[in-house]
Symmetry: C2
Subunit: 369 residues, 2 copies
């Protein structure tokens, strides 16, 4: 490639990738995992009605998807008590975050996030030339006041909060998040990532006020709805901000089958309730497995549990690697002091049995003691 | 929305959209189309094996797609006689074009294309702040020499050629395109859009020399493979250019079902051959329908036929509108003098019967006389 072909910005970007996927890791290790507990997917699966809807839509895949995702947006708007002008459907929260950053961040602009929070957001910010300012977690939770203070200090365009949080699983109550919304500085937008909100206890989610220009909210079908591979996320925000995405988004980017699957999944709230119950039970089991091995569990409002390995990041990394060697795929936080933990997705009994069987040996091999 | 939230570039962008989709048009007109012949979809459908593969993959949609599309890339590389390092899979050519423009074009950069060529490419260029220089079609074909001359004149980063061409359906032989590749100026890249290449006659496609740094080639599963709604396109180029996409792409953006569908479709070359034969027959039928109504057909190497309505753009627009009023969805070129034409996708007999029934009345109502 002629070096001069790339823009100066792109030429300056690192070749790093936010996450290596489990299939790629399986190819590198040369054998499959027995338990896939690292990507916070919903191993409990999507609604059977969503599966049926996708199967029915398969033969119609010669048609492009509806460029406005009209039916899904309408259903989401009704579900959320708003109108479609406040809702945008896109290719997962990752894709929508990329578009939001492109809309708002260029060279010279700064965003604020927590050190160790969702790396794909940072990937997009760096990719569009923005600067990232961080504040530390406080007591293993994101720190709304510190985020707001930093946003004010640096004149941030965006300030990111995941509630509930990934990778820690912790959360803030609605009053705390609402106070954060009220405190967003002029000219700044709160990026409220609610990928895991369906798993949160009552009272953790703020009321949606879609006209509020201070916050954009992201939700997804990848987690509780079990459709990670379909790539369907959505944003809820003030209508003119939603409309601005139309200036840059890939209008025919949504897969038609995915639109059908998400619509059917949304309509099956009974399946969602079942998944929530299964996830709650799995969280308890993961915490118990940790306890049996001397590891304490973070409280979780998500479909994963973060276990404190009780030492430093290097030890936790060895535990993760030893679980990998025992065919259990997990991930871990990567910034101190949260990097002392490992992060384990909820799953059915068979997967958690694999975890329970592997963890004692992994801890021993990691050199605890 | 606080106006200052948007970057100056985004704030300057128009709210226009390259295409209104047929579902949105159906909602606006208040009733469905009888014949969907405007989006160059393959109404003949995908391979039944691809449908079966997608149906089988539906229950696995709780997993994210493979971030490297490993199996599909490997199969494509083998199919093309190269290695996966030269192949990138992405969310349709539209998505890949957006990424390519982002890699290479910023404010102050210029690209070259033909006036009236694929508008989504222009949409991306404008969206990233680039300037567009155009040359006219010559005899209803893109003009390789003029494109190269203009690229040299303006110092273009990219020069775009669709072969076969959309919206005219015309094409150049391999020798002409290869000569264009040889003439690409230093510091410029030929964007060779081969979305319709599977429909082209023998000898229209240049040999793929994946190490050649002067050209990036785009192909898709949306047309001949009948998977428009799955959103799977691919690029073939020099390895370091392919690798550069990894710095900015949405790594987990591919739908898992789509990956499975495309892989199965690629393996069913017999279905592809059947589609090619059906399309060839449908092209002849569309040309005959045109002839019966006094309209001449452009020669076509695609899955559509462009009919010359024999007057100006306003007349052709009225014909299109009158077909719409008769429940036949088509599109048309939008830049003179090509805008004197209408563009009709190949389809099965029932759809073409609808066209044949509607066209005489549409022409009369459009005021031919």
């Amino acid at each position: 490639m002629t070096r001069s072909l790339l823009t100066p910005l792109v030429a300056s970007l690192p070749a790093t990738v936010p996450f290596i996927g489990p299939e790629e890791m399986e190819r590198r290790r040369g054998r499959p995992y027995a338990a896939r507990l690292g990507a916070n997917e919903s191993i409990f699966g999507p609604s059977p009605r969503a599966v049926a809807a996708m199967q029915a839509a398969a033969a119609e895949t010669w048609k492009y998807g509806d460029s406005t995702s009209h039916d899904l947006r309408a259903a989401l708007a009704a579900h959320l008590g708003t109108v479609p002008a406040h809702v945008l459907v896109g290719e997962g929260i990752d894709g929508l975050l990329g578009l939001l950053v492109r809309l708002t961040v260029g060279p010279g602009d700064t965003v604020v996030t927590s050190a160790g929070a969702y790396p794909t957001f940072n990937y997009h910010v760096t990719g569009f030339g923005g600067e990232i300012a961080t504040v530390p977690y406080r007591d293993d939770r994101e720190d709304p006041q510190a985020l707001i203070d930093k946003a004010r200090e640096v004149g941030a365009k965006l300030v990111y909060l995941a509630n509930p949080d990934n990778p820690m699983g912790t959360w803030h109550d609605a009053a705390t998040v609402q106070a954060m919304i009220e405190a967003v500085p002029e000219g700044c937008l709160l990026v409220l990532d609610e990928a895991y909100v369906e798993f949160a206890p009552e009272g953790a989610a703020t009321a949606i006020v879609p006209e509020d220009p201070r916050v954009i909210r992201f939700r997804t079908f990848s987690k509780a709805y079990g459709l990670a591979g379909a790539r369907v996320g959505y944003a809820v925000a003030e209508a003119s901000l939603i409309a601005a995405f139309d200036r840059i988004r890939n209008h025919f980017g949504m897969a038609r089958i995915s639109q059908a699957g998400a619509l059917a999944a949304l309509r099956d709230q009974a399946h969602l309730a079942w998944v929530r119950a299964e996830v709650a039970a799995a969280r308890d089991r993961i915490a118990a497995i940790g306890r049996d091995n001397g590891l304490s569990a973070m409280p979780s409002a998500t479909n994963f549990v973060t276990l404190d390995c009780g030492a430093d990041g290097a030890f936790a990394r060895r535990v993760m690697e030893q679980l990998d060697a025992r065919d259990v795929f997990i991930r871990k936080p990567f910034v101190a002091p949260q990097d002392r933990c490992i992060r384990i997705s909820a799953g059915p009994a068979a997967e958690l049995d694999s975890l329970a069987a592997a963890l004692p040996g992994a801890l021993a091999a990691a050199g605890r003691g």
